[in-house]
Structure formats: structure tokens, C-alpha cells
Amino acid sequence: MEKVLETARIICRESLAPLIVRLRLHSPGISAAARAGQFVMLKVREGIDPLLRRPFSFHRIHPDKGEIEVLFRIAGRGTLALSKLGPGDPVSLIGPLGNGFELPLDRTTQIAFIAGGIGIAPLGELIAQALSGPGQTQKAHLFYGARSASELLPEDIVSQFGLRVHFATDDGSFGYKGRVTKLFEEFTARADEDFRPAEVYSCGPLAMQYHVAKWALENDALSQLSLESLMGCGIGACLGCALPAADCGPGDDQRFVHVCEDGPIFSAGSIKWNQILIQQSPPPTYLFS
């Protein structure tokens, strides 16, 4: 499948939470080929500030209309500039990029979706696909957490996803108080609930993904984690988006995978978690509010 360079037009812009924006874009070339879990490299505006494109997952894909949706959180200069665009504005996209999620062929298996913060973005399309189509819909729950209630999508939007949702916030301002992965672990262990997912799909900060990976490996569950890295090109040319691979290269003690090409979807066992060096913390939100 070929990646394309396309000038998309913004059709609709909605602010869903204080720092969360949803864009609907007309991008026929990309939407025709896009799959859940893949992403685009988006140039938020012409010129050199910011210089590089930014990666964004497909939040929804509408090939019939030639449209895609992107859901993003204002996290810095680029996303702040993007949040100021509106209907009619052009943005340059390269996509679809990366490998994408694969839903289980067996529609009767139980699966879990786990989202941390803006990690809800790529799960939107995946959940829609799991719950639609012919025959039986997948038995699935969504576990969705953030630092606090203001960083979650509004409940009425999440309820439209059409599956059972379990909310968590670090500060307890909405739903379970604590890490979403802890809520997930507790729920799957409950005797009164018959939920033992054979596969987990997750997206969120690396600290969260680490706990998902650990659970998946300890419980012999399949896992598809959408991982992040800073990206220079998004197409495998700069080698900037490396993460330590679990297996070693020939005659080498460490091998790296590249998030843009080998990912962004990885299984828990393919990453050497204890070799992930520096956690880049996003800048404090007070910078943007």
C-alpha cells in the first residue's frame, strides 16, 4: 500500500475538552487506504515554526466520504497552532503510515481496550470496527483513564462508542481513583465479572503501556500496543523513532525497532522495556490554558 502526500481541507473543528480538539478532514487519497492504528504526518502550517511534521493517529476513517478524523491534545507549539485552524484551512498530510491494529478473526474472543489520556484517539476507529460488521460483535470493554476529569472526553461522547466503559482518573475527579491499568487489573480479576480478555489493545503514555505490557505477558494475553516516539520523517528515513527491541541483532547487544515503520503497533513482548531510557514528560498544561 502506497503512502501519499496530500493537501487535506479541514471540514469541521470541535473543542471536546479544554485541551482536546477533534478535526474532520477531507483527504480522499489517504482515507481510501487508511486502517485503524495507522497515522499521518501532518504539517500544521507552512514555514519553519514548527519545522517538522507531527504524527497523528486516525481517530476515525470514513472512506465512503473521503474523510478522516483526528483527535488531538494541545501539548506544545505544533498542536497549539493546529488547534487554531478551522473549516476550509488546508493542511499537508503524508499517510497512511505504519502497520495498524488487527482485530481477532474469532469474533467470540473477549478483548479489552485500554486508553490513557489522548491515547483514546486511535482506539476510536478500532472500537467502531470491533462493534460493527456482519455477524456477532466482539465482547469488549473500554478502560479509559487520564490525570483528571478535565482531560477525559465528555461522557456523552464516550458512551456513543457503544461498549461498556470504565473510567479512571489519577486524582479521583471522575470514576475510579488511580491508574487505569490498576482498574483494569482489578476488574479482570473479579469473580463476579466474566471478563478475561484474550487480547488487549492499548494506547497511552509509555508509563501506562509498560503496565499493560506487564499484564499481557504475565497473563499470556495477546497484546497490540500503539507506542509513541519523537519522529523526524514518519517514513523510515531518519531512524529517529527508535525503541529498544526485545531481541538482539546479529553480533550486537542491542537492536532497535522503528516506531514509524515496524509500528506504531507492537506486541508487549517485542520491546525491551527496561532499556527505555528517558521518559519525556509533556510540558505542564498551565502553559496552554
Partner: protein, 329 residues
Amino acid sequence: MEPNPDPTIAAPDLSVQLGPLHLKNPVMTASGTFGYGEEYASLTDLGKLGALVVKGISLLPRAGNPPPRIVETPAGMINAIGLENVGVEVFLSVKLPYLCGLDVPVIANIFGNTIEEYAGLAERLDGAPGLTAMEINVSCPNVKEGGMVFGTDPAMTAKVVEAVRRKTSLPLITKLTPNVTSIAEIARAAEGAGSDILSCINTVAAMAVDVYSKRPRLANIFGGLSGPAIRPIALRCVYEVTRAVKCPVIGIGGIASAADALEFMLIGARAVQVGTANFVDPTITAEIIEGIRLFLEAEKIAALSDFIGTLDTSCLFPFAEDACGSIEI
């Protein structure tokens, strides 16, 4: 291409001669910013390029540095990839055959940690079908000399170039680092040791930190700055080098438009390489080639070679004659 407005005027000649190397136009991709070409094949027409310089190659595959490896900074980016690459054997068996099928000259960029590694690579690559030239990246630490970067010392630079020169008759480019006191001195050493062509610059040593996490932005702490931010530094380096040597020079650093490329050629660069700008716009090289053609047409310059090196630094005082004459100002 736009049709020529007046068919009686010949289209301007964009071809350039760099010593033994003839290119149909002066625009190449810079090493490490264009992969092995294939990555960009569906996004831009590789056949339009003057030449394609591939990612730096070593004798053995290299894993590269731990992440984070890149960070964006004002008008640029800092990278510490650590020269990750597939190694010369995979390059020869997989990457080069793909490029051979395209109508584009391929230049291999080579590096090593010892003089023997550079020589071994040159020997292995010499005569490889489809290879047009070699570019030596001397911005690498010499492990036998306490990790001093080859390209920061004239004698070590000369030794690398001599060792490679002995192993190949392909056109040889030496790529200079700007992280030196006198780039002209290194340039003369490389030319003297048998380099046919010089290219400059490689990235500028740099770093970035995060005040919130109180951590360096790169796991390697230091990296190399590239992109528009370094263009004025690159221009100064190319200016110094073109005046220090007789061999042709390729300008590199922050080029993102035809106007940028023309700046380098005005001061004497015979060709250019485009790096970081490929990440931003994969079609940028084609746009630059077209922009140069339009410039030559508009300025009624028949051949690019007539424009190269025409920077005028002489007549800086246009009113000097008046001042010497009757009117005193």
C-alpha cells in the same frame, strides 16, 4: 515541467561538472535524510535527482544510539542517531540493486572508526555495479586515537582520504564537519590527499534540555543540529572552503528552497545537497530543481555554470567615485 514560453530560447542548462563527476542537475539528497531512496519512492520521482546520497554505511551493521534520538529546535532539529545502518553487505545485496533500477546516480556515504575500516569499505564498494561515487564522512571518532573525530584534524583527515583513495578510482567526495577552528585547513588537507570533491557541512554540534523533567532531550546528550537554523553557518563554511581549494565543492546545510540552493551556488558551490527539508516536504528536491530552472530563465542565464561563483564582493562602495570627485559628502 512548464512549457518554455519562447520555444526559440533553449531551456537553461542545469548540468554541472564536479571534477570527474557529471550530474544532470546540481540537486542531491544528503546522507541520512533520504534513507536508501526506497522510502521516498512513492512520494517523489527519484529519477529527477541530480544524485542520491544514501544513509552512511559501515563495514558491519550498527544499532545506533538509544532513544530519544531527535529533538526539534527553532528552525531545525538535533539528531543523535548514532549512524545506525544495515552494513555494507546488506547495502550491496539489497539496497543498491533496488537503486540500480532507477535512472539516478547513487553515491555511497561511508564511515568507520579506524582508517582500516574506511579502507575496507572503499575496497568492498569499489566497482559495485550502479555506484557512481563515494562520499567519506569524516565526522566520526577515531577509536585508536582516543575518540578524536577524524575530520577535526588535518593529518587524520588526510590519512583517511589517502587510504580510501588507494582502494578506489570512483570520484571521491570528502564531507567536512563545521565543528573545527579552521575548516579551510581541513579542506586543503583532504584535497591534498586526493579527494576530487569536497562537501560541507555535516551537522553542527549542539544540545537541548527540558526544564520540566530536568533532563537532556537526547539520550546521547549531544547531537548534530541541521535544518534552516544552520544555513548561515554552512554558507560561511562553503565560502571559506571554496576560497581555500581548487576542487569543486558541494554546499549542504539548511537548504529548503531554490533560493537557498542558489545562495550556495552564488558563492561558489558547484552543487548542493538537501537534508532535513526532505522530512518536511518529500517533493522539495524536485521543487528546488524546477525553481533553479525558473530563476535561470527569468534572469536570462543560459547555463547554471555561468552563475556559479559569481558573488560580487568588489564594488561595495558604489558612491566612492563621487566622494573622490567634486561632491564631498
